[in-house]
């Protein structure tokens, strides 16, 4: 008896979920090849669209704690519990029980969750703990570094799930990794924005004036003043620069490592989700490029070239490009000059 198309579709869908390729599946049912191709692609697109719908890790964690509170309460309560009547007394009892459970259970649960994989029941706890760790970190650069560590963890998890043939978990973890890669970029961008508000050294003003081709008396006077006021880079700022460079190196190393792990995992995942992994790899490469560009382009080499146009002239309408390493250019003790300070080139232009 000829197989029905809906049975063929279901068989192929199940096989693809277990890791078989679309082409291989379709070749089993040549009579339905074109229809199956369209239908299977649609079904996986529906699944892909629905993947981002995940409970927030912190909600999941607290819901678990509350559930344990409910269990505690109901075990002790002689009366049948009805969820429809949420009275204050019961809620209070549940909350207290949940808090007790939380205090006792948190330490052991958190410890146990640290090695949890996406197919592990404690994985939600692990993600929640990671989020708390990020939330408690005040500095953007440190946050970016933590996210880099987390993306490396995600890459390992993706590879492990790919080994186990758990396509759905690979997809879900890839989504989380994409989000965390974004967070690296965003935190670096925030840090750069913050760094750009640090006053620049007075020598910017001399560059700006010289670029305008006018060496007026006023400009010469400015040069003298600023040269006089230039102060050496303090030990503290040197330490800051070193720690920033170290953090960036660490982020770059981890991102590169994550890319390698994902590239190795590629041949273990079905064709249908390779594009998703590739997207994540591209995202990681963009983050890595961003860091390489910053590290390999020290500000002292850029200070006189960043604002130059192709014909060697300087575009005075463009603000100097800044990144975290531009802190090298500043003496933190010199508060009088900088992109937005009194000696900023725009201000000088007005003069």
């Amino acid at each position: 008896m000829a197989i029905k198309i809906e049975d063929a579709f279901n068989d192929c869908f199940e096989r693809m979920m277990s890791g078989e390729s679309l082409e291989s599946c379709i070749s089993r049912y040549p009579q339905y090849a074109s229809e199956l191709d369209l239908m299977l692609r649609t079904s996986f697109d529906v699944k892909r669209r629905a993947y981002p719908i995940q409970p927030r890790p912190e909600f999941k964690y607290w819901a678990g704690v509350r559930m344990q509170g409910v269990q505690n309460y109901l075990q002790k309560s002689p009366l049948p519990y009805k969820s429809s009547s949420y009275n204050l007394k019961r809620n209070l009892a549940i909350t207290l029980a949940a808090m007790l459970v939380f205090i006792i259970a948190t330490t052991t649960t958190v410890a146990a969750s640290s090695d949890a994989m996406p197919d592990d029941p404690l994985y939600g706890v692990k993600l929640a703990v990671e989020q708390i760790q990020v939330a408690l970190t005040p500095n953007e650069m440190d946050k970016a570094e933590i996210y880099a560590k987390l993306t490396e963890k995600r890459a390992i998890e993706i590879a492990t799930m790919a080994d186990k043939g758990k396509t759905d978990k690979v997809m879900a973890t890839t989504e989380i990794m994409n989000y965390q890669l974004q967070q690296i970029e965003q935190n670096l961008a925030k840090y750069e924005t913050a760094a750009s508000t640090i006053p620049a050294p007075a020598r910017w003003s001399t560059i700006s004036d010289n670029q305008s081709g006018k060496t007026s008396d006023k400009a010469e006077a400015t040069i003298k003043i600023t040269e006089t006021n230039k102060q050496p880079i303090t030990q503290e700022s040197q330490r800051n620069i070193a720690s920033i460079n170290k953090a960036k190196d660490s982020i770059n190393t981890r991102t590169t490592k994550s890319i390698t792990i994902l590239e190795n995992a590629m041949n273990k995942v079905p064709e249908s989700i390779k594009s998703n992994i590739n997207e994540t790899i591209d995202r990681a490469k963009t983050t890595s490029k961003h860091l390489i560009r910053d590290i390999s382009n020290p500000p002292d080499n850029r200070s006189t070239t960043d604002n130059k146009t192709d014909n060697g002239t300087t575009n005075l309408h463009e603000k100097p490009k800044l990144n975290t390493l531009d802190i090298n250019r500043y003496d933190n003790n010199d508060k009088r000059s900088g992109p937005n300070g009194p000696d900023d080139k725009d201000n000088i232009k007005k003069r």
């Binding site: 029905k4 649609t42 079904s43 409970p55 509350r66 409910v70």
Partner: protein
């Protein structure tokens, strides 16, 4: 290692660890099922918690022979969502901005993802009830054919046909008509 049936039996007999195992195993799936129906993060979170509280209350009366635990849980979820929708009478549709995705931060990325979920939700709403239920349970909550069949009280053959028709309809709704499908 214990089988699913053994774990469920333990849960029925009041073993909290066994129930926690079931809870962890199905939590995400139930949340996704509810979210796609109410499409509000806050409502989906509340309803998901309530479904598991109901499940814990009712687990002592659960009989494995009548229904597998997954189907039983999804029946609770299905009924609870229906009750909720009835309760709010005129369905309060969540705004697009409320659509939740795991991604955050980058507005472009978020909007793309939310829009895709929004499109999917709209397309699902245009399906006949039976097709929508099958598609949601099968492709969003990732239940097996037999679990969907038992949850909905239909035969596996019927579910396979509904599944195929649902995907054909979603294809038309999401991308337009291509090659007759």
């Amino acid at each position: 290692m214990l089988s699913e049936e053994q774990i469920v039996r333990r849960a029925v007999n009041g073993d909290r660890e066994a129930f926690t195992y079931i809870y962890n195993l199905h939590f995400d799936k139930v949340y996704r099922y509810i979210y796609i129906k109410v499409r509000s993060q806050i409502e989906a979170e509340d309803l998901t918690q309530e479904v598991f509280i109901k499940a814990y209350e009712g687990i002592r009366n659960y009989r494995w022979k009548e229904l597998p635990i997954t189907a039983w849980l999804f029946r609770i979820a299905h009924n609870h969502v229906i009750d909720y929708i009835r309760k709010i009478s005129k369905e309060k549709r969540a705004d697009l901005s409320e659509a939740d995705a795991i991604s955050g931060g980058d507005p472009v990325y978020m909007t793309e993802q939310n829009f895709e979920i929004y499109e999917l939700k709209n397309a699902l709403e245009k399906l006949p009830d039976a097709q929508r239920e099958v598609a949601t349970l099968r492709f969003i909550s990732e239940l097996s054919i037999s679990e969907v069949a038992l949850t909905l009280g239909k035969s596996e053959g019927t579910v396979k046909a509904l599944q195929f028709n649902a995907i054909a309809s979603l294809r038309k709704l999401l991308y337009g008509k291509i090659n007759g499908y």
